[in-house]
Symmetry: D2
Subunit: 390 residues, 4 copies
């Protein structure tokens, strides 16, 4: 049985996901970077099937995922020909690429209203029959609604300032689930608050569906979480934390725009107090864009603390990390877990899953914990729910 997946945002993360899945199916790639690869889940990696892809970049809409991948990663990876069968469709824009050097046009521009765009998506999805919709678009400004009626009203009024593309997709997936009676798992790995939006969680419960999110935890943030846990367990008093990130992919470019950077800073900073128990002074944010670094970002972190007898210790961490594959690896688990959760009758959202995979785990008000703790809690949870097989 297949896990049918739709990708929203055919950028580098989606591309690595699509390419990696196909390469694993062909037996040419070990599933490194997929956290649960060593466990037997209800669905195998090979059960994942890409059935649709959406974007608003005119350079991508109408091209096949093969063509997009060839251009994006063709110099460093073999791109399987099977990706020729999926064509990137036009999705919802709502200004999500505003200010970035792309020519973008959304369905809502073509069809005249967000509502019309959402309805068009729902119709398409009734044919594509996705089990999972994954939001892997560029970071965009977005605020939670919390009240279902406010979200509904924003759609009705075509309020393009209030409504983020993420919310529009989430709403479309909800309508699709409700109309068809098929459960859907929405996986949101960008900072938009969806799993932390009471309105979204409520709608998904109602439609026997689930939203997992928000903001996939890869790179420096989960490592920082584990380092802080390490210090906290030894009762070392942290003086300050500085964490710099610089890269050359679209997300770093987007984060040079202050309101988008703000979205990221919030999800990144919440770990400090949650784990240490006090709000140690910190500077943690995407710091800059440097094109030649490409998708392999440079991270530098400085932490210092008071140890026994009041003396001071110091730690510096430097990393070169491939940003998009790290996130794509998580998607391989999330797609499989998402579908199984709904089959197990778990609706709304699932904190135990979010706590490991997400920087800012839903539902609203949830605490961050160190990733190592979250990992073992996750394994327990997945065994208990039968998602990991005995």
């Amino acid at each position: 049985m297949a896990v049918r997946v739709i990708l929203v945002g055919q950028g580098l993360v989606a591309t690595h996901f699509a390419v990696g899945i196909e390469r694993i199916k062909r037996g040419e790639l070990e599933p490194y970077g997929v956290p649960l690869a060593k466990y037997q889940l209800v669905y195998d990696i090979k059960d994942i099937e890409l059935v649709g892809s959406y974007d608003v970049d005119e350079e991508k809409v109408g091209k096949t995922v093969y063509e997009v991948a060839k251009k994006a990663v063709g110099d460093i990876l073999p791109v399987p020909e099977t990706l020729k069968s999926i064509t990137v469709r036009r999705g919802i824009h709502l200004g999500s690429l505003r200010g970035l050097p792309f020519k973008a046009k959304g369905l809502e521009d073509e069809l005249g209203s967000v509502r019309a765009a959402i309805e068009a998506l729902v119709e398409e999805w009734k044919k594509l029959q996705p089990d999972v919709v994954m939001i892997v678009a560029t970071t965009e400004p977005a605020k939670p609604f919390h009240k279902v009626e406010d979200l509904v009203k924003a759609v009705e009024r075509d309020d393009r300032d209030r409504l983020s593309a993420s919310h529009a997709y989430a709403y479309a997936a909800y309508l699709y689930a409700k109309d068809t009676g098929r459960s859907v798992a929405l996986v949101n790995v960008i900072p938009s608050p969806l799993a932390r939006d009471d309105a979204i969680v409520k709608l998904y419960e109602e439609a026997k569906s689930i939203v997992l999110g928000d903001d996939g935890a890869t790179g420096a943030t989960p490592l920082t979480a584990d380092l802080l846990e390490h210090l906290a367990e030894r009762n070392r008093y942290v003086h300050s934390i500085a964490q710099f990130n610089i890269g050359g992919n679209t997300d770093f470019l987007a984060l040079t725009i202050p309101e988008r950077n703000k979205m990221k800073e919030e999800t990144k900073s919440s770990i400090v107090k949650d784990i240490l128990g006090y709000d140690a002074p910190h500077f943690i944010k995407p710091t800059g864009y440097l094109e030649p670094l490409g998708d392999k970002k440079f991270v530098s972190m400085h932490i210092w603390w008071k140890t026994f007898n009041g003396l001071e210790d110091e730690l510096v961490v430097n990393m070169r990390i491939n940003d998009s594959p790290a996130l794509a690896g998580l998607l391989v688990d999330l797609a499989r877990i998402g579908k199984t959760l709904t089959e197990r009758g778990i609706y709304g959202t699932a904190y135990e899953v979010n706590a490991f995979y997400m920087k800012d785990p839903g539902p609203r008000g949830s605490k961050n914990m160190s990733r190592i703790r979250a990992y073992y809690a996750l394994i327990d949870y997945l065994k208990k729910t039968g998602i990991i097989r005995a």
Copy 2:
């Protein structure tokens, strides 16, 4: 009620422990670096009382702990006058400082045999009435006996090549416990295999006592353990691990002597396979001695791995760590836990405690786990046994 402590080896660790304890008692120091300071244990930090100190360095024997501390850390820390009441006594040498630039003489040299020296210690301890004996001497070559009779024979035959000073002290503490009926907790934070020596564990069980060890886990090794756990949980394939350590304290000087270095390399390397599940190629050892660094060592670590889609990521960690205070902070817990364990009827050794505090946890054959896992297992254990109060 007091926790009466004897220190074996009045070096930097013992000195930081002695100074720190007194400063905490006087209310001038927060207990940072003491892992369980935030929990209420059966014994408070202020219950710890230093009742004896041993060394073989002619520069120290006969001096007060105050004088030794003044010379060692007087330039960076206030040294409490209360330490004037403890005088460093002559202990067992057995070549444990051989090859190092110290003039050393052991009790066994004065009294003619190891057996006589051990008996002299037992007599002294009957007066000092320690609850806890802590081995914080310089790293020395030592091999386990595993059979009680072999250990006993080595003492009988005065076999100074086979017997390490650590074993002689462990045996003395056992005899003291057996003779007096007072339980003793032996805390071994150097690499000598005591908690991993079946013979020692058996003797301690018999004497309603406990041995905790071996090799206190501070600095780079527990951090490496947690970093490897972090990678393992994401199924990243580790290509190799390089870890360098350089410092200027006596332990680094001792480790320039190959057979001592060997002792350390073993306890440090065991984490790789235990945590990753495969023996990733690694170079992990104390690398050199550089006098001006003093007790604040420099650590550099390089780890790289295969991530999703076969791409490669890289991590570099650099640290400046005060070696001795980090270990002294652990001793503050271990003294209190050690005494309470025997009061709770737990004898022999306690893996749950060793797994967090020690690089190579006893009993023999025990596995290393990441420190973060070990920490939560420890907290559960201490709650269950009532050592952490509800």
Copy 3:
């Protein structure tokens, strides 16, 4: 004979300078961090005499330099009592602390116009008889005039938007020199363009005086210059350069204000093209403010390049640097060189001196070179002009 010095801006740099000079005079401090300490100059370090100090911070004006120093560095350094003889006077503000959390008031506010403030300074200086005026204030926005008449007009019109405090001081020093016939050396170690302002250079030539500047080269920038020179000499092709700086002193706080940051970014970035010969993509700027770091900033730098056969190498540099003492050490040379230059009849500015000590060396249009080259050119120049004695 003395080198009589006035400090403009009694912040950390000025304080380290004042304290360090007095400690060297008392024989309690080796002159480490003073580049030319090993050479015999016309004036010895002990010839330097602090005769005046200016600030606009209400917390400082009216206090002695001793009091200011005690508060700023009293916990880490002994503060000589001789500094009680110098009281901080009110200087020109012109908004140079605007936006920062200090209560500030300038002479121009008290006296009604910038012109009146300048005249008041000139009168004071006629009594204090400085040989050297050092601008060590917080980074402020400032633009060059290039035409003397424009500068004069800005003063006449009391144009407080156009005129920076740096320019006002520079003009005051010029008037003082012209009126008294005493040559003055203006040393500008902040980014304001003074040595790069044709107008200032021209006025100083006319008044047989000299301006040295701009923006003292300490910390990461001169090191980056030497690293780039190292790469350029091996014809390695630099892909990109990322350099992060974070600290907790007033200058880092000031640099969180975009227009001030801009001032710094320009002087820092100019090295790339000047040394490599091509404008390698770079991100080089003060990155953030983190109060606990204090004056000891954290710097992280990433450089990677193409080596022979098209393979790629990578370099990461991390530093903890005391920002203010590094600059104070340069001032010890600059004061002595500045006075001697005018005595040797060298007026206007001196590129050979600026090229080593400054991030953006005047006069206008001058190139940066690696510091190591600049150092040897400086030594030659100082020998030729007799400032270094044979």
Copy 4:
């Protein structure tokens, strides 16, 4: 006109040199990593012609350089087919691979004596007519002779313990030059003392030839030299220097053998006193072998110092460096310079050239200087001698 080159030791350095030269000739590679590529020398890079190659590894002798290169770097570089025309010949062993996991046999084993082996080489070279012989073999233990007669005697007596393979090749090249009247340039980029051996220098003078050496300066050592110069110029007082190197190529494997490591440690450490003026405590040596790192070594360096006012600063450098290409890039210059020097009548050795390209520059007793100073001295020298064309 061609620069005819013989390579001694067909390892990674020789292979990168051979492959790189051919790729540059074919116009598919920019000459990055070749220091003087931007200058017009008497000989162009395209004038370099590989005419012979020697090794003692049974896996290489008899194979073409193409086959060797294909195996060594075929996975990361295109290997030009032109390298099929050169076959690796059997060279002199003299135990230079002893203790390493290679099956090796030398000409002296085949022919019965070192003398016979040397004579055989001379005969071959009379046909190959090299202008340049490059020693790029694995680091081997070697001691200088300083007296010509001692070297001659060692050959006569077949004293295989006293004589290194490097010396045997150097002597062979001398005999070839003397017999044919053709000048030869011997380029020695391994630690064996040849340019620092008075005997070798004297013989080369006599034969109107030149020896350049010793130990090519790439990687961490020249960078350390420039960093120390940077600190010295600011009169910062260096407390200590730690430098670790780890890699997975044959040279790192060889350096796990103590007597070979010793060879390297000496050439690496000499920079400290030469540049700083005092022998700051340091730990600078190849630290370990870690196979997966391959030719791209990991370097970590820690330097700390006293700055103005007695405060302390700290610098950490981490690098990933392709070891062999860096050295191969230098050979591209050295081959061309070597030949031209003899044509300009410069015999024996040339300090100005060695000072930039070598870790331990000959002749005996020469000082190290920072690389940046050495670079400008080199450029002046090459212009003065007409090797760089106006």
